[in-house]
Each structure stands twice: as structure tokens, then as C-alpha cells.
Point group: C2
Chain length 343, copies 2
Amino acid sequence: KKIVTLAGDGIGPEIMAAGLEVLAAVAPKIKFDYTVEAKHFGGAAIDAAGHPLPEKTLTAAKAADAILLAAIGGPQYNDAAIRPEQGLLALRQELGLFANIRPVQIFEALKHLSPLKPEIIEGVDFVVVRELTGGIYFGEHTLKERSARDVNDYSYEEIERIIKIAFEMARGRGKKVTSVDKQNVLATSKLWRIVADDVAKSYPDVILEHALVDSLAMKMITNPSDFDVIVTENLFGDILSDESSVLPGTLGVMPSASHSDNGPSLYEPIHGSAPDIAGLGIANPISMILSVAMMLRESFNETAGAQYIENAVNKTLLEGVLTKDLGGTASLSEMTAAIIANL
Amino acid sequence: KKIVTLAGDGIGPEIMAAGLEVLAAVAPKIKFDYTVEAKHFGGAAIDAAGHPLPEKTLTAAKAADAILLAAIGGPQYNDAAIRPEQGLLALRQELGLFANIRPVQIFEALKHLSPLKPEIIEGVDFVVVRELTGGIYFGEHTLKERSARDVNDYSYEEIERIIKIAFEMARGRGKKVTSVDKQNVLATSKLWRIVADDVAKSYPDVILEHALVDSLAMKMITNPSDFDVIVTENLFGDILSDESSVLPGTLGVMPSASHSDNGPSLYEPIHGSAPDIAGLGIANPISMILSVAMMLRESFNETAGAQYIENAVNKTLLEGVLTKDLGGTASLSEMTAAIIANL
Ligand SMILES: CC(C)[C@H](C(=O)O)[C@@H](O)C(=O)O
Ligand SMILES: CC(C)[C@H](C(=O)O)[C@@H](O)C(=O)O
């Protein structure tokens, strides 16, 4: 199995190393054979090759069985003509990574980090499914001196395939899909709702509810345990999935997966590159490590391996081994070592 | 002074009556002379005249000194060809109501309603300024059988005037503007950020910070006391202003104002028409009553009158007079009477 790693910028290289250490430690237990190929990506690739997604990186990614991405971006690129995010958007499009999956869960040991009252986050366990290669992200963008325009396009098929993913996931979970749109204003949302209703006919065992994005942005926080699978379009998904990190109260423990129809999937933490603490050895590697677990489960069907890692993370947190962002004093390497010891 | 009232649907008529009772009670104290002209709007207007914004309503609204709107919509219109919201969107456009203002505050007596921990909402006092007549709401909408398109347009001038409003407000408050966009993806957001920087040059006494909408959706909840004036475009403002109601933990105490360049302003609760409790006499009239206070202050410069109402609401809540949605048993008329008694 060939895994391509894109360490990227900021704390990216450190947390990627931690993720790979954990993978190396779990692999023998589950007899998982793999090779790792590291490639330039993001700001690091701009510096090295003048482009955030160099040809060689793209070729390797396309040929991979799975891709691990750590984090990209940094203040030095903020006003540059070429930016790290362009590499990420291009990679999503080139690989057809249309289905972004973000599980939202609360770790027992980290409950106190949530800004929400304990009774609100009790029983929270949902997944945000975000369409990732369509909509206003990939429509025409026109910037003139005195005006600007973005175009939001969706086809029936683009909507259908992501809604199907949501229903398939719901079938294996709580059997409820919440489809989010702005149907009282947008044409794309009117189509979205039609398609969701059409797809629902093939899943009589799953409940479909519709929600307007403004109202959902509220209910996701006030009634988070009402949700099972939330599915939405690209821009709404960007906003709502970041918002969902309010529930655990930290970005530091949230992995994500992005899937295509038949190519390799990509796994990455939802947090950014944290340039302010890069190189200090104090970054929290858990999102990255849990992304490795997601990869084992979703790309390689290694459920046991994923479970080992997730249990080890849980145990380590319960033991009180916490990095600075989680309120503790453990270094990145101490945290990683503790997780490996608990495997 | 001529006030046009649009009671609308559901609980609209009941809460409008309550708002007008309070206005009638405060008017003699501040020697405020006014007339009220009630007009059909929303679903009620569809039923009465076949259109959510009848010509007569629009003509009266244009000739008014201020407009009070209660609430529109109901399940019976959800699948109809003509819907109440279309009247609202048309009214905003016809009156040029480009600046929507939603203050976010926590009432001492209602702190316990917030899903957030007390220390998080301590000191929260910000305003969301939403652009209301541009962007993807008013661009071309195309719905075909197999595809759909929405167009998001902004001109320099449209952005400039709303950003100026935000800076003017910040000058009279905490002297900080947070401008929200998705500048790493959208052309309209790139222009938005350029204009915000341009306008900021005329306000050296006000701090401008930029935030990406995904990140802001998180920080608005985790660090709400960091904000003073949040300004953003139409669609982001729709999502973020609803999301901000998470902080007080109830939609029932949040008023809003919408201003144009030189025509009448419109004041309305941010909550909906609550068809499930319409006519039961148990609706919470506070958002409506506080909208009346906003009208007195912002359209008629009657600061004392606004203050009387706001103090009376505060006092009534502290006395424990609470409607059902706030956890109490007071009816709409009991709540209204208590507020009037406290004026
Ligand atoms: C970096 C940015 C382009 C990206 C997005 O908006 O999709 C990020 O916010 C994300 O959610 O992965
Ligand atoms: C009813 C709807 C069109 C409206 C909007 O999206 O602007 C509402 O959500 C609001 O925020 O006033």
C-alpha cells in the first residue's frame, strides 16, 4: 500500500512525523504493509518549486492508495500572488475529492474544554458531509477594480452523489440525514432539496429532514445531539464544519476524510498550520493521528488498526497527558510516545 | 410621524399589538406624536391580495417615516409558487434597505438560557451589520431540471456604504470592526477586503480586523466578547446573525433594524412567525417591543423613549415575568402589561 504524505507548512512536518510514528507502531499488530512517499505541497512547495501543487506531487498523489495531508499556509503567503490554498483546491479538483467527511465527537476527558454546558454536548455524535468540488468554490471568479462576481453552479449529478454518500453513512449510523440549504433564496438550493427528496426514496429506512442554513447554524449549537448526518454544499459545509468544532471546544482532536469516486482518498486534520508554534515541539498531533486512523478504516478496511489508535488516544487523554492547547504541559513527542505506549 | 405596521403571519398580529401598546404607553412621556397605518404583508397579503407585497403596502411603506414588521411565513406557504419571503426580499430591495443591524446582548435575567458557560458570555455586546440588498440574494437565479445557478455580484460602492456604516457604529461603541469574508476563495470577498482596507483609512481611531467566515463562525461562539462590530455580506450575514442568537440562548429578545440611504427604516424581531403557537396568546413580545425601542432611537432620535422601554423590559425580566419560551408561565398580555407598568 502506497501512502503519499504532504506535510506542508507550519506545524505540518512535526505532526505528520507523529502520525507516521503511530502508523509504524500499529502496522505490525495488524500486519499492514505500506510505503511512504513524502511530497512537497502548499507553501513549502511554493518555496521549493514555485507552485503549491507541483506536477510531481500531483502525479504521486494520483498513484497513491491514500494521501495524508498535515496542514498548509502561513502569514508569509497571505498577500502573495500564488497561495498555498490554491494547491489544496487544485488537489481536491484534480483528484475529484467531492465528499468531505468530518465526524464530530466529544472526548470524555476533554469535555471541560467545550464552551457549552455539559448537558448540551451530552451524546453528541454526528458527521458533517460537505460537497467539496462544486458550487461557488469552482464557479467563475471575476475580480475587477469596481466590481466582482462569483458563480455558484450545481448539477443534479453533483448533488446526487454527495446526498447518496450521506444516506449510506446514515444507514450505518443513526438513520437520519439533515440536508442543509437556503432553499428560500437560492436556485442551487431549490435543486438541492429536489435531489435530496429524490434520493431519499431509495432509503426508506433513513429519515430525511431539511434545514435552512441560517437556522441550522443555530441549532447545531443549541441542539447538537439531534443530528446524525448533516449534508450540505461546499460553502455552507465550510462554515458549518468549522462551526461544529465549537462543540468539542478544540480543533485539536478533529480528523477529516475526503473521498472521490474511485481514486485515492485524502485524510487531514481540520485545524491549520499554526505558524506561531511551528518548530517548538508543542503542537498537538491528535487530529493528525486520528486522520491516520480514519485512513486505516476507510481506505484500507483496517478497522482493528483504526480502533487501536482511537482507543489509545482516548486512554492517553484520560490519563491526563495533554498538550498545551488542551490545557496540559505534554510536548508533541511526549503525547505521541504516550499514545504509542497505549496502543 | 407616520408608522406603517406590517403584522404579517402567525404570531405577527399578536406581538405587533403588544409592541403598539407599549409605544402608546411611552409616547405621552416623551411627547411623541404619531399615526399608525396597518398594511397587509407576507402570507396574509397572499391570502388577501394574491401577492406578499401588494402595491398599496409598498406605496404606504415608501411614504412612511418608519416601518414595523412583526413576522411572516407559515407551513401552508412552503410549497406554494408565491411565498411570503418573496415579499420581504422585494420590500428590502424596493426600499433600498441595505444595512441590517442586529445587536447581540445578554440580559442578566436570562443568562441561564444560554447554552454557553457563563464565563463565555460574560461581557458580550456586539452588533452584526449585514449587507442586505446585494450579493447572491439578488443576483440571477437559474433553476433547470438538471442544473442550477446563482450569481453573486458586489460593486465597490455597495461594499463601501455598508463598511462605512460599520465604522460609524464602531466609532460610537468599542472602536473595533471585524470584517468577515471568504477572501481565499471568492472574488467578491477579495474586493470586500480591499474596500474595507480603503474605508479604514478614514477611520484611524477604529481598529479593523479581517476574518474568514469559517473561522468567524467558530470564534463568534468561543470568544464572543472579542467582538464589537461585525460586518459582512448578505449570505454570510444571514448565517452569522442567526448563529449569534446562540449566545443569549433565545431568539425571543433580539430586535433588528434595516436602514436605507434616505428612505424609512424597518424594524423587526429576528425570530419567525411561530405558527405552532399563533393565536394562543403565549407568544413572547419582547423582540417586537425592543424593535419599537430601536425605532424610537434610530428613526426618531427619541433616545429617552428607547431607554424607557429597554429599562422596563430589563426590569420585567428581573422580576421574573417570563413567557413560556423563556421558561415562565406569563401570557403575552401579562408580559406586555408588566412591561408597561415598569415604564
Ligand atoms: C483553505 C480553504 C480554501 C479551505 C476551504 O475553504 O475549503 C479550508 O477552509 C477548509 O475548510 O478546508
Ligand atoms: C426569510 C429569508 C429570506 C430571510 C433572509 O435570508 O434574509 C431571513 O432568514 C432573514 O434573515 O431575515
